[in-house]
Amino acid sequence: MKPAPFDYAAPAELTDAVTALAERPETARVLAGGQSLVLDMHYRRERPALLVDINNVRGLDVITVDGHTLRIGALARHRAFETPTVAPAALGRLLSRVSPYIAHPPVRARGTMAGSLAWANPVSEWCATAVALDAGIELTGPLGRRRVPAGDFFVGPFRTARQPAEILTSVLLPLLPGQVGVGFCEQRRTHASFAQVAAVAVLTLRDGVIAEARLGLAGAADRPVRAHDAERHLVGREAEPEVFAQAGELAAAGSDPLAEPHAGVEYRRHVVGVLVRRALAQAREDSNGNYGDEGRDRHEGREAR
């Protein structure tokens, strides 16, 4: 099918976009990369009366370091995160490890990180990353600006705490200084498929002992979640394979995946355990500076910054 008719506005100023959206928030939609919304409009799952296209809004595409935070504008495309120099140190490595798993180059050229969070697919890589890192989600509406922690932002499949009249204007990610290692693993049916399950791991190590652990999971529940039990188990223990396997078991036991035709609940739960274990092992390697071939190039790229 083709999209149903709609009115179209493409303002150049954020205030005009907010005003346009606020006029009829229930029936208007924000158009960012369009890589999910236009598809939903083809299927007529979405029939907005008005599209507020934010692609012409000035200044929304910037990615800047702001104190201890990486501030990512709503128009930063997936593609911008393909190179580790997008952010300092471990955060840049993590984002550039995740980004290639999202669709393929032409979709990454248009789709945005903010759009992924607003869409809130429970298997989205960026949503799992945002939850793992405790991202701040900045929303701008007619009443002004507010910030919602990622942990409170996702409230169900394709459902968020964003009010219909709000535009997601920035994603705020904490920089990851110090001896931090990052890992990302994903199970998917084909190269261009959405994830069945994905795991983000961030470990802070002191003398081989885990001082802080963050685990973000996609496909492990009806929304992106952290594996809190597994994280608690890791802290204070040695970064060793048995410990990672135990954390994987805890994450699997704590997950409550939705069934889909190609991945039943038990299968997904099993995969959660495997991917958590592998992502943790990757994070340990990463923190050692033991990057492997691909990682070494990236490391040099980072140093060259």
Binding site: A4, Y8, M41, P105, R110
Partner: protein
């Protein structure tokens, strides 16, 4: 804007003044209003890539963009590649390497490859990135091998693209 809207599209450096509803896809407007039917529509879901065109130099799915979004942008389609009666080096290479059979996917692959390799020719030297790029689009006939060889023929070391020189041809 509501209802039919005048839009000037610049496709292959030619201006097309069209009047379209905002809901019309770039792909449909190229085909039906600009009469540029080289761009094909397969899935209309962003999956197959047969509709790939370049917008401001980047390969994008023209089934997931509206024509009204493209006013003032530089659009390139497969019709714009041949010059002075000669195929673009990659078009020639795809023919030489048997990179097509039915041809339905070909315009999409050509625009995908030309867009990406013009931006970064080193992709040809990196099998992993080349696979990543070619997996963007679907081909039901060739098994991709001929298309991959065509990329190497045109953009690899001593590729025909270099030899042809001028204007990226």
């Amino acid at each position: 804007m509501t209802g039919r809207t005048p839009v000037r599209l610049t496709v292959n450096e030619t201006d097309y003044d069209v009047t379209v509803e905002p809901r019309r896809l770039l792909a449909d407007v190229l085909r039906e209003d600009c009469n540029l039917t080289g761009t094909k529509l397969g899935c209309e879901h962003g999956v197959c890539g047969s509709c790939t065109v370049l917008v401001d130099g980047e390969g994008v799915r023209s089934c997931l963009m509206f024509a009204v979004q493209c006013a003032g942008r530089d659009i390139r389609t497969v019709e714009g590649l041949a010059a002075h009666g000669r195929l673009h080096a990659f078009q020639q290479a795809i023919s030489t390497e048997h990179g097509l059979q039915c041809g339905f996917c070909t315009a999409g692959f050509v625009m995908l490859v030309v867009g990406a390799l013009e931006d970064d020719p080193s992709i040809a030297e990196d099998p992993e990135r080349l696979d990543g790029l070619l997996s963007s689009n679907l081909c039901r006939c060739t098994g991709y091998e001929g298309i991959r060889r065509a990329v190497l023929r045109a953009y690899g070391r001593n590729g025909t693209h270099e030899k042809d020189g001028a204007e990226g041809h």
